[in-house]
Structure formats: C-alpha cells, structure tokens
C-alpha cells in the first residue's frame, strides 16, 4: 500500500495520542493545533513525499506553505502503524477521498477506536453521509463529526474560534474536547450527528447562492433574505433527515454559514460570484484556484431531496444554475414571486 516511512512513532500510550488521517491544509492545521497543546500527534498521508518533508524539514509545502510545524508531530504513511499507536483517529480527508481512505483503514482499526471525521458534504456517488462509510467499512462504532466555521489560517493565527464535535457517544465528545480545546479555541459538544453533517453540506450549497447574490451586485437586504431563507431551508432539510432543528442555530449551522460561507475566502462563494458574472462552473473553479465542495454537494442534495421531498427552493435554484443552465436572475425572481405568507412557528416559510 503506502510506503512505510521509517521513523520512530511517539512512545506515548495510544489513549494520549491522536492519529490524523490526511495531511491537507485542515489535517495539517489540526495536527499543529493538537501538538501545540502538548498531545501526542501522528499525521498520516498517502503521499510519501509529504511524509518525508514533514520529517526532514517540519514543513508541508504542498498544503500549508510558509508554516513551520511542531517537531513533536510524527508522520507516517503506514495505516497499520497509525492504528496501533492510537485509539483516536481524525479523518481530515475531502469527501471525495473518504471511501477509499476508510476502506484502506478497515483492516487495521479495532473496536475500541474512536473515529472523528471532518469532511463536509455528501458523498456524491452513493449519497451517504461519512458516518455511514465508517459503519460500512470498519468495525468502529464510536464516531463523531467535527465541524464549524474554522478557516485554517485563523486557527493557526490563534484567533478566537469555535467548533462543534457531534457524537452519540459522550466518550467521543469528551475525547475531542480533551484534545482540541485551547484558550482561543472552543469546542462545543452535540449529540446531533445528522444535523451537523447536513448543516455542513447545505452550507456549501448556500455559499454558492450567496456568491450569486454578490455577483449580481445586490446588497445587504438581499443577502440577509438569502441567509434567513437559507437557514429555514437548512432546518427543513435537516428535520426531514431526522436532525434536531436547534443544531442549525448553532456553530455548525448559521455559524458555519456566516463564518465560512459569506466571504471570498470561501471557494464556494467566490465560484458563485463568478458564475453570476457569466462564467461556466469549471472556468469559475479554475479562476478561483480551489475546488468548490458545494458543486458536487448541490447534485447530491438534489438527489436526496428527490427521494425525501422538502420545500427547498434555494438548493433547487442552485442546482438549476449549476446543472440545468438557469440564469441566477431567473432563479432569484422565481423566489420573490411566491405569495406572501406567515413566518410559521417552526421556521420562516420561504
């Protein structure tokens, strides 16, 4: 499988060590964050070059150029080694790579591994959430999801931030809080795994819509209209999938939407803005230079909503723009011409 990097693994007991799977910008940031608090940290990546660089130079120029990493971070490309030295694993891989990585991990993990994933969005092909992948491919049952408005550079800069760890297992919440809490970094617990996952997915799609609005030159009034309706839509979709509506009022819902979905630092927002200017989807992504997770998520969400119908005009509108050639202005107009209604007790009607 992966080339074994011959370096010594931390000698701490597994219970005091976090294994981070994926040395992308967020995985590397998390490794730096955990190591910075003095916990044992092992970082795995499929790319042996990255592993070698971390060992040799304590940098990761592929994902976090210019950042100097803590020397205490151990790196490996051997999943067996990673699994045996830890009892907590954090999966920081993009949703597109999730299935492959977890399948490779399957033979190595034990029933006592706690697994935390951070990926956002719905797996495009199977439309199954990440926790279902863990269930399918490993024997692990105690898992959780970490999500929130956490831009990597701001976490590295130690700016005040908050995140949510959602799990049905209190042990997973406590463990995540033990590893991740720092004076500038708050970690809230939640038992609503589905809500946190849906929040992250819908947020990516709504960020595209926010980009459309900005690209059409519209101001604060329209933006807040989209956020409010977007929140209502997120709640409706979430409730349909079994989530607790209160989750969407929190860090992983409205917090994430505002924190990482309303500015050009979000790839989704930037891509949406260019699309409203008339660019094709692929051209927009090239120009922004980042992959927009919202693009496949809009497709996955659309499929999901066909099977479990929910009134979701914004998600449908984004899908129409991305996949059916609709103009952003048409979609906006169709939203505005619904008859006036009551804001219901549960949430505003859209």
């Amino acid at each position: 499988m992966a080339t074994r990097a011959r370096t010594k693994i931390a000698t701490r007991p597994p219970a005091d060590t976090v294994g981070i799977v994926g040395a992308g910008s967020w995985g590397t940031t998390l490794a730096a964050h955990v190591a910075g608090a003095g916990h044992g940290t092992i970082l795995w990546d499929v790319d042996p070059a990255v592993i070698r660089e971390i060992h040799a130079k304590h940098t990761n120029s592929r994902s976090l150029p210019k950042v100097r990493l803590d020397r205490a971070i151990h790196a490996t490309s051997d999943l067996g080694e990673l699994a045996s030295a830890t009892s907590t694993l954090v999966l920081a891989v993009p949703s597109t790579a999730m299935r492959a990585v977890v399948t490779a991990l399957g033979p190595h993990v034990r029933a006592d591994h706690l697994v935390i994933h951070t990926a956002k969005g719905l797996e495009a092909r199977q439309r199954r959430a990440d926790d279902q992948i863990i269930r399918d491919e490993t024997c692990c049952k105690r898992f959780g999801v970490l999500s929130g408005p956490n831009l990597a550079p701001e976490v590295l800069a130690q700016q005040p931030s908050a995140t949510v760890i959602a799990s049905r297992y209190p042990e997973v919440i406590e463990t995540a809080q033990r590893f991740f809490v720092r004076p500038f970094f708050r970690v809230y617990g939640s038992t609503d795994v589905v809500g946190v996952e849906i929040g992250a997915a819908v947020k990516n799609v709504l960020s595209l819509a926010m980009g459309f609005v900005a690209g059409m030159g519209l101001g604060q009034n329209t933006r807040s209209l989209i956020v409010t309706r977007g929140l209502a839509e997120m709640i409706r979709i979430g409730v349909r999938m079994g989530a607790d509506p209160a989750t969407f009022n929190g860090i992983a819902g409205i917090g994430d939407l505002i924190g990482s979905g309303m500015s050009r630092e979000s790839a989704n927002f930037a891509v949406g803005e260019l699309i409203a200017h008339g660019r094709k989807v692929e051209a927009a992504m090239r120009e922004v230079g980042h992959f927009a997770e919202g693009v496949p998520t809009a497709d996955a969400l659309h499929t999901l909503l066909e099977r479990a119908p929910v009134d979701a005009p914004l998600s449908r509108g984004v899908y129409q723009v991305l996949y059916q050639g609709a103009a952003t202005s048409e979609v906006l107009e169709s939203l505005m011409t619904r008859p006036p209604t009551m804001e219901t007790n549960a949430h505003p009607t859209a």
Partner: protein, 531 residues
C-alpha cells in the same frame, strides 16, 4: 440449562434487589437534586393510580394494604428508613415478577409442553376432547419452522441467547414455544403480561414455558428498573430469554418500525457483567425471529385500535378475541381446514452491538472480518460502564433487528391480495384521508373487476419475485407458485372463513372491499417493500 436450587432462587431475589438499590445510591451520590423519597413517592403515586382505576386486580387488597403502609412510613422517614422502604418495594415487585417461576418446574415443562398444547386445544373445544392428539398432529403439519436452526443450537452451548420475535398476536408465545419444542431447542424464559395469567389454561402454559410476570399497568420507573435488572441477571445466569422487542402486538399489522430498547439493552449489560465476572461463556447472542400468519386471530381489534390511536377520537376499541375461547378454536379450525401455514423463521444471529455472528460465535464486521467485541466496552484497556454508549449500541442492535425482520418476513396470499385491493381503493378515492377512505370504500357498491385484481396481482408477484431473489423478503406460497389466479383465489378463500366481516368478498366477476380496515391491516405487512 442447569436447575437452580431454592437457595439460588433466593439469591436472584437478593442480587437483583441489591443491584437496583446500588444504582439508586449511585444516583444519589452523583446528582444532588436526586433523592430516594422521589423514587418511592413516584412508585406510590403510580401504584395508587393503578389501584384506583383497576379494582378488579386479584391482588388488589394486598397491594392496597402494602402501599398504605408505605405511605404511612414515608411521611416522616429518615434517609435510612427511606432506603429500607425502597428495598421492600423492590422486593415486592420481584416476588411478583418471579411468581411461580421454579427452575425445576421449568425443566420439567420441556417435556410437558406437547401435552399442554394438546390440552389447550381440547379444553377450548370440549367436543373435541377425544381427538386431542389428532388436532395437535394436524397443527404440527401447518407450522413451518425454518432458518438458522443449526447455528442457534450451537450458540446455545457457546453463550446465552436472546430470542427477539416479531409480535402480531397473543398466539405468538404458544406458537414460538411449540416451535422451539418441535425443532428440539430448549424453552426460553420470557415476560408475559399479567392478564395472560388470568386465563387458567394459557396461564398454566405460560408458567411451564418459563414465563415470568410483567404487569404493564405498573408505570413507575422503579418497576421498570427492577424488571430490566431481573432480565439482565437471568441472562448472566445463562438462562436464554425471549423478548418481544416491539413491546406489544403490532396494532397496524405492519412489521415493527420502532423497538423498545429497554429490554434489548440487557444484552450489552449482561455481557459486560460477564466479562467483569470473568465468566467462561460471557457472550450474548441476539436471534431475531419472524412469524407469519395468513390470518391473525385479533386482526379486527388490533386495526381498530391502531386507527383509534392515529385518528384519536374516530374509532373506539371493543373486545379482544383472545378472551374468547370460541374465537381461538374457530381460528385454529380455519387454519387447519384450509391447509394454511404458520411460518416461524429464525434469523441469522447478532451480537449485542448489532454485528453479525458466525456459527462459531465470532462477530464479524460488514466486510466479514472478525471483531474482538470486548473492546467495544473498553476504554484504555478496561471494561468501562457507560450508559449513553450502551444505549447507542442497543439502538444499532435495534436497527439491525428491524432490518432482519424485513428480510426474513414471509409474505402470504392474504397479504398480497390485501395490498392489491387496498391500493385499488386508494386509487378510486385519491383525495380522501384515511378515515374517509375507509368509510367510502366500505359503502361503495361497485367493487372491482376480478380481472383487474388478477392483472395487478400478477404485476405485484413479478416485483416480489425479484425481491425474493435478492433475499430482501421471503415468499410463503411456494405451493401456489407465482400464479396470480391461485394467489387471489387462496386469499379470498382465507378471507372468507374466519373474520366476522370478510376483508374482501367476491361476487360474480367482481371483488368487494367489504372490510377495508382489515385490508389495510393485512396489506401493511407489505409496507417495507414498496410493492
């Protein structure tokens, strides 16, 4: 099964009582707002309510006196006295639960069952007294027991088994009891409603089957805790248990869609206690079991009750057929005379965490890799109690049980015909809500053309065939094959023989939905398959 000495029986009482008390003590330590007085008061409150509303209970007088005493002692009790009162309440509950349960009788019962069953059939029909063994033999022919029988025989030696069947009818427990006997498995202990013990025949039968008593009218948490701890402890003793995980009979006729996780959760608890006590055979296995009947004894009452629940005020429940021996007899007679079968399917076993279990007792993950399941209850290498974690494991187990139910459920002609006809009713009145649909359908005088019923049944059978091939459901009418006409005619025949108003009736070349509520009931068995 080993027999328990009277001393051991006494030990059950002491151990379970002390465990429940210890749990309350732990709560008192942990939560400053918790106090024992609340536990006792809660039990007192619920018991008084029960006694107020159910004066006909045979133990009414003694219960009332007991609780009057508790109330008197309670008002000015010190903390130590409170604990004594609590202990006496638990003790009283346990004595009722254990009832006449005597492991010796239980063991003997294994041999008595066939005679008891025959007795059951005969007592209900005095005129048939002399032909008792005939009807038993005949019943035997109509009971098909299948599934993972070998695996279960092996697991019974390797560890302790919890049998979790679907629940449709009060006939289920005798049917399962007899099925176990028929395939050579030992009887399982289980909690039967107090009301079942009031019927002297059924009651005797229950006891001998190893049933303990559950009083569903007792609503206080203390009672539930006691019951759960009792079940856990018997599992640890190696006594195989049977729970109906749906809690009560399915009102709608549908497969269980939500399980009561309380008793199901005894598996993971007993397993941990076994590990901690270094038992030789610590493992607990959960075996789902599905029952299929062409006709259900209490169908009319159950669907009425279901509609009443959903529509609140719209329907009122009347009597229950199980209290009428004539109905039971009539039912059995219909069953036998029409060559219809009851299917009992024992499914692939699961562990308390919801994983599949191989015949050698090894749990495996979705990819078939063996799992060291003791690690599920460990943190940092130690067995570590965690209520929330175990509740979650039990939820996973429950999901696995429900998936198994759907897969091993056996569909019969009556279910298929009902599904076809009820669908046709809905299409005729597409805009009506359920209650008006039922009313209108019963009133309509045209009926449906038999030809169309055949065509639609044919289409349904085609879909079903595919599902059966994919092992997503079972089909019970191999005898009839995939012939739509045969299925429709079998269904109509069965519908005609037992129910007061038949669910559907054929007149000439038309079929009339004469009791649409019953059609709904039987068709609900096909719900998970989108037929």
């Amino acid at each position: 099964m080993r027999a328990l000495s009277p001393a051991e029986k006494e030990a059950v009482l002491i151990e379970v009582q002390s465990r429940v008390l210890a749990a309350k003590d732990a709560l008192t330590e942990r939560d400053p707002n918790f106090d024992l007085a609340t536990v006792v008061n809660d039990a007192l409150y619920h018991e008084r309510r029960r006694l107020d509303t159910h004066r006909s209970s045979p133990t009414w007088k003694s219960d009332a006196a007991f609780w009057k005493g508790v109330s008197k002692r309670l008002s000015r009790a010190s903390d130590r006295e409170l604990r004594d009162i609590l202990g006496s309440v638990i003790h009283r509950y346990l004595q009722e639960i254990i009832g006449n349960f005597d492991p010796k009788v239980y063991r003997v019962a294994t041999k008595v069952i066939p005679y008891a069953l025959s007795g059951l059939l005969n007592t209900m029909s005095p005129t048939r007294l002399l032909s008792g063994f005939d009807s038993l033999a005949s019943l035997d022919d109509h009971l098909i027991v299948r599934g993972e029988l070998d695996t279960i025989s092996k697991l019974i030696e390797i560890g302790t088994v919890i049998l979790v069947p679907t629940h449709l009818s009060n006939m289920d427990s005798p049917v399962i009891g007899y099925s176990l006997f028929k395939v050579g498995l030992p009887p399982f202990t289980y909690g039967a409603g107090l009301n079942l013990f009031t019927n002297p025949i059924i009651g005797y039968f229950m006891h001998n089957l190893g049933a303990y008593k559950v009083d569903r009218l007792k609503r206080d948490d203390l009672y539930k805790d006691t019951l759960k701890e009792y079940a856990t402890y018997t599992l640890e003793m190696g006594i195989h248990n049977l729970f109906f995980p749906g809690g009560t009979r399915s009102r709608s006729g549908a497969l269980e869609r939500k399980l009561k996780l309380g008793l199901l959760g005894t598996g993971v608890l007993a397993y941990q206690n076994n590990l901690r006590n270094r038992k030789k055979k610590p493992k607990i296995f959960v075996v789902p079991c599905t029952l299929s009947y062409s006709l259900v004894l209490e169908a009319e009452t159950l669907i009425e009750d279901s509609l009443k629940e959903a529509g609140k005020a719209r329907y009122i429940i009347t009597d229950d057929e199980f209290s009428k021996p004539g109905r039971i007899l009539n039912f059995l007679r219909s069953l036998i005379s029409l060559d219809s079968r009851i299917y009992v399917t024992f499914s692939e076993p699961l562990d308390p965490f919801g994983n599949r279990v191989l015949p050698d007792g090894t749990s495996v993950d979705h990819r078939g890799r063996p799992i060291d399941i003791s690690r599920y209850v460990m943190s940092n290498g130690e067995v570590h109690p965690d209520e929330a974690r175990d509740a979650e494991y039990t939820r996973e187990l429950g999901d696995a049980v429900m998936r198994t139910f759907a897969r091993d459920n056996t569909l019969l002609a009556t279910h298929l015909l009902a599904a076809v006809l009820f669908q046709m009713c809905k299409e005729r009145h597409p805009k009506l809500d359920l209650y008006r649909l039922l009313r209108e359908s019963a009133l309509q005088s045209e009926g449906f053309p038999l030809l169309e019923v055949h065509t639609r049944t044919e289409r349904l059978l085609a879909k079903l065939k595919k599902l059966v091939k994919e092992e997503k459901v079972r089909y019970g009418e191999e005898r009839l094959g995939w012939d739509a006409q045969a299925v429709v005619s079998e269904g109509l025949k069965l519908f005609g023989v037992y129910h007061t108003t038949p669910p559907a009736t054929r007149r000439g070349d038309r079929v009339f939905p004469t009791d649409p509520g019953l059609l709904l009931y039987y068709s609900n068995r096909t719900l998970p398959y989108g037929l």
